[in-house]
Symmetry: C2
Subunit: 339 residues, 2 copies
């Protein structure tokens, strides 16, 4: 990279001429300007991805890195039942190593392809160099109608629990990458699916925003730290317990890559982070509409359990299996657990 | 640091119970929720600070680091004539080194002291570890009335040019730090002033927001890359030229620390970045009101030149000295100029 300004100009070119009713001013001033509207709410989320910690360049195609950086934030807005509209992007570009022009072109290609898919406009950001490693902070701003956001804290005893997609492929993809597997876009099959699930997740943008618009869920979160742990968060914030039906959970086919023991596959799936599937609770009477919506959006939606009254002081996620109900021991991902 | 969650909980405690009419939901869900209002506009800015590149822990008191991280973004909102309302904070915490609990407590102390001064509420953020160095991304969201933001692009030939404060102390502070000078909060004098100017800048929050509210400027920017270069940006975006009167520019007294040659002091001041003073252009008839407002805000405001018609293809900043007008050769700070 020759210059910060050059990079900024290249990004400016990419978003120039975008017309949007609520965007008063995008990139190019001290701050971006967005029009507000009574009856609407702004949603803001930010996700920080750091080389060597959150991704490795060694096995991440640059286009997929650009995609994922945005995908994780889109997923947050979807999990609020909102519609993503604008993004900001902070780049910490390492002075050493892999920052060729080609690398950045591919990162932006991935980023803007996903942004374009959902009509998102990049309205700002910042660039700094870093001494060692690449770091990217992704900010997405969305909208929902007033009072329409789906929070984590509104699950009600009696709600059914649903999850989109199949669970576990992301953790398996990561494991395979660590074992030396690499992306080959010409190949198909379970291995490449798993790598793709981890490196190039598809956020449930349309389905999530429609759930919000149609008010079909009480609580929603995206699976970023593992289904069990994220469901635990809904329980904690809502003051409820949850029971998951072991046999209902849609475990990803890719689990066969690492184990033929269904119990191990299940545990692995329940603690698989970065799935970016939506986990939601809804009243029984919404099930029909939810299933219809999922079908219309070509999203697999599975009922996996129910919300129950809180049985003791701390919120508990229980597992129902072979007629027995036991507290579930779950583990998720904590960046500092190893410090 | 024992855990990401612990750190998040500590931050949550710090902002718990804050009441704000437009804040629907702060920290703790997939995204923050802000109420919108017709007739108002949202301003968004982001600033990335990286250890060893943008700051060195070796000479930065942690409290001042927390202060500065927020100050740079507040300054951006002020430069739009907006009122800062909310912030988000991304922390990349290095696995090695200086991340003691005490260090973070002091960083937050500085951050929240400045936030509290202007009634700002932290509504979100993200935390990741980094392999080597600390990295902090600061996001601030503000408001202005519809159409009320002061852009860089609206300077008009005939406008007068004003700047707040005195220019140059930040670059001198940085130079002194590099030469081995260190902060001593018990000491007073030019040296400590210069260090403070660089390490703990005071953004012009109230003055900037009132300029926007009272519609007193045509164009505004904060001095972050050097007065000459930032004025060049206004010229470029507005399609005008500018003349600076050499003898009107308020050069910081601290320049005496590095040179007794007024010419060198002036050049140094004109390219001093991270000043976070406001540079604005306004019609002649606004001068009285501007000066009165500055006085009310206890801000030094100086007229330093005028905006003129564009004389050739590229916008030019000229310098008027001893009856002569010459194009100014300015240099500013480009993070990648050395790559």
């Amino acid at each position: 990279m020759k210059s910060e300004f050059e990079l900024i100009n290249r990004i400016r070119d990419q978003v120039a001429g975008r017309i949007d009713l609520d965007l008063v001013l995008g990139i190019g001033d001290d701050a971006a300007i967005l029009r507000e509207q009574t009856g609407r709410e702004t949603l803001v989320t930010v996700d920080f991805l750091v080389e060597e910690i959150d991704f490795k360049l060694e096995y991440t195609p640059p286009r997929w890195l650009g995609h994922k950086v945005l995908a994780v934030s889109l997923s947050d807005i979807a999990a609020m039942g909102g519609r993503p509209r604008y993004s900001l992007l902070t780049l910490g570009i390492s002075k050493t190593g892999l920052n060729s022009d080609k690398f950045w072109e591919e990162v932006f290609e991935g980023y803007f392809a996903l942004a374009g898919k959902y009509g998102l406009i990049l309205i700002g950001g910042d660039i700094s160099s870093t001494p060692d490693r690449l770091a990217i902070d992704s900010i997405v701003i969305g909208h929902c109608r007033q009072g329409g956001a789906i929070r984590r804290s509104r699950a009600i005893a009696g709600d059914e629990i649903f999850v989109t997609g199949r669970i576990g492929a992301s953790a398996i993809g990561l494991k395979m990458l660590e074992m030396g597997a690499r992306v080959n876009e010409k190949e198909a099959g379970l291995l490449q699916n798993a790598l793709r699930a981890h490196l190039r997740p598809e956020p449930r943008v349309i389905f999530g925003s429609l759930i919000g618009e149609l008010d079909l869920a009480h609580a929603m979160i995206d699976v970023s730290d593992g289904l069990a742990q994220d469901l635990g968060r809904i329980c904690e914030e809502s003051g409820v317990d949850a029971i998951i039906d072991r046999h209902l959970v849609p475990v990803a086919d890719e689990s066969i890559l690492v184990t033929d023991d269904p119990e191990r596959a299940f545990s692995f799936a329940m603690s698989s982070g970065e799935e970016f599937e939506l986990l939601l609770t809804a009243s029984r009477k919404s099930e029909g509409k939810l299933m219809k919506l999922a079908e219309d959006c070509h999203v697999l939606l599975t009922r996996i359990g129910e919300i129950t009254k809180k049985s003791n002081d701390s919120a508990t996620v229980m597992l129902r299996q072979d007629g027995q109900v036991k507290p579930m021991l779950f583990s998720g991902y904590d960046h500092f657990i190893n410090l």
